[in-house]
């Protein structure tokens, strides 16, 4: 069964979230959205329903964050909580319903980017981890990794330096280049730590778009095939959580993957609970 990183939000039934949650992470300008634009039609050609979503796109808080950022006056805790509001709104109103309907949810960043940014701004890592402990554990996190020297030309020749992406609130200077360099270096350092902690699947983002796409496609195909995998996450489960009885195994109806497969449950799960199927397709529509 699907899990969260700690608390479960009121009214959220984890048992019926049969879709797949796939996260594409990476810093600003690394090419996440380009890849998602390629991945979506590729998945749809295989008959998979796809929801793509990303930061600041919530109906509730997306606009408010945008407006507040224009004033450049948000404090780091305020900014973190505003993003958490946006995330919670999308989780409850987009991601969870889509997972319940058996969709593949492709998310352009997840809580990790938000945590990395907050920590780079001096927020207590334990505090931000608690805030996001209601997040669902994804089926996979693909981290598009790039060094700051490779990143800079991409940003300069596409969108240019942005105030927040350059961490101008952190390193105010006349020179946005210097600021960008310092901030992104700090951010990439945080990403590397998170990559270890949450077992990201790291993809080198320096080659051309098609090569990165090929790597991502292989990784995602593997996740969707439902073959048994090593557990992705080693974060301990909170002790208080009651064990739920495993439901009857659902049958995958996609011809390509007709055999039942195991869930990505944690290694320490009791033996009695081993084979809970996470099925795609029309299971709960």
């Amino acid at each position: 069964m699907r899990e969260t990183y700690g608390v479960v939000l009121p009214g959220m039934n984890l048992a019926d979230l049969t879709g797949k949650l796939i996260v594409i992470e990476g810093t600003d300008g690394v090419g996440r959205s380009t890849q998602i634009k390629l991945l979506r039609p590729w998945l749809e050609q295989q008959g998979r329903a796809v929801l793509d979503t990303g930061i600041k796109r919530s109906e509730l808080a997306g606009k408010g964050i945008q407006q507040a950022k224009e004033g450049h006056t948000l404090g780091r805790i305020t900014l973190s909580l505003f993003y958490a509001t946006d995330f919670a709104d999308r989780l409850e109103n987009e991601i969870v319903p889509a997972l319940r309907a058996g969709f593949v949810v492709l998310t352009d960043r997840y809580t990790y980017s938000l945590m990395a940014r907050a920590i780079a701004r001096g927020v207590d890592p334990a505090w931000i981890r608690n805030v996001y402990s209601f997040a669902l554990k994804p089926d996979a996190v693909f981290y598009l990794r790039i060094g700051v020297d490779d990143l800079i030309p991409r940003v300069v020749f596409s969108t240019g330096f942005d105030y927040w992406e350059s961490g101008m609130d952190l390193f105010p200077s006349e020179d946005m280049y210097e600021s960008f360099r310092k901030y992104q270096t700090a951010l990439l350092g945080q990403f590397d730590k998170l990559a270890q902690e949450y077992n990201f699947e790291v993809i080198d983002a320096t080659p051309d778009i098609r090569s990165v796409f090929a790597r991502l496609r292989d990784g995602i195909a593997h996740v969707l095939s439902g073959e048994p995998r090593e557990p992705l996450f080693s974060v301990p489960k909170p002790p208080a959580e009651p064990e739920e009885a495993p439901g009857p195994a659902k049958v995958v109806e996609m011809p390509a993957a007709a055999k039942p497969a195991t869930s990505e449950g944690p290694a320490e799960a009791p033996a009695a609970q081993t084979l809970v199927k996470a099925a795609d397709g029309d299971a709960s529509r």
Binding site: G75, T78, T85
Partner: protein, 227 residues
């Protein structure tokens, strides 16, 4: 990042808590008058008033888009903005800051809405600990009688209508406030809240409050901005 605890700023922070109809806002207003007359630089900060976040909260409430999680998070965002841009700088500057409702309001409401008590407390751990926190204890029916007479219609979230407690707004409001009352009682020992009997005459409550505030301002004479 500072964690919830005694702040070391020269200013002082006094806050009032209690259910709707407990009379806390009246008491805080009277305290404010007195402190100003005594010559303290006094600033009042209201719950749910950050200009940056207000528009989002207003929209969420109006369209009834808020779930327990987003209700909790948007209020925490609002509070964080006030803490970072208003309360902390004022405390640093040596002001006496008065807050009508504080983090305990969020603890009560959010937990009644089903949020995890530890999660909510940890989220608000950036808040400065008040110099004095007054809880106005009042029986539910007394509070209800005070506010339900001649009051405008109860708002959706104010009455806990999102929880589906009752069809009728007034009934839902009573159940919701009753549950919040239970949460407040748990918080009295947990956060060492100073309990004021809110059924006493107004002047008597104010006398008690002023005594306590006075004692805690004893070493703060330099906070006076006027003779």
């Amino acid at each position: 990042m500072k964690r919830y605890g005694e702040h070391r700023f020269p200013g002082k922070l006094f806050i009032v808590e209690g259910i709707d109809g407990s009379g806390k806002s009246t008491q805080l207003m009277l305290l404010h008058q007195w402190l100003q007359a005594e010559g303290y630089g006094t600033v009042f900060s209201e719950w749910n008033s950050s200009p940056l976040v207000k528009e989002t909260t207003r929209r969420g409430k109006k369209k009834q888009m808020l779930t327990p999680a987003t209700f909790s998070l948007i209020h925490a965002t609002d509070f964080a903005d006030r803490m970072e841009h208003n309360i902390i700088p004022l405390l640093k500057a040596g002001a006496v800051v008065l807050c009508d409702r504080y983090i305990y309001t969020a603890f009560g409401r959010d937990v009644v809405r089903g949020m995890d008590p530890k999660w909510v407390r940890e989220m608000y751990s950036f808040a400065a600990k008040p110099t004095g926190a007054f809880y106005f204890r009042v029986p539910l029916d007394v509070a209800m009688n005070r506010i339900l007479n001649g009051r405008a219609a109860i708002k959706f979230y104010e009455g806990g209508m999102d929880l589906g407690l009752a069809e009728d707004a007034e009934e839902s409001f009573k159940i919701f406030q009753g549950r919040i009352l239970e949460e407040y009682e748990k918080m009295v020992p947990e956060f060492d809240l100073t309990v004021i009997d809110a059924t006493l005459p107004i002047e008597e409550q104010q006398t008690q409050m002023r005594q306590i505030v006075k004692a805690r301002l004893a070493q703060a004479k330099r906070l006076r901005v006027a003779p």
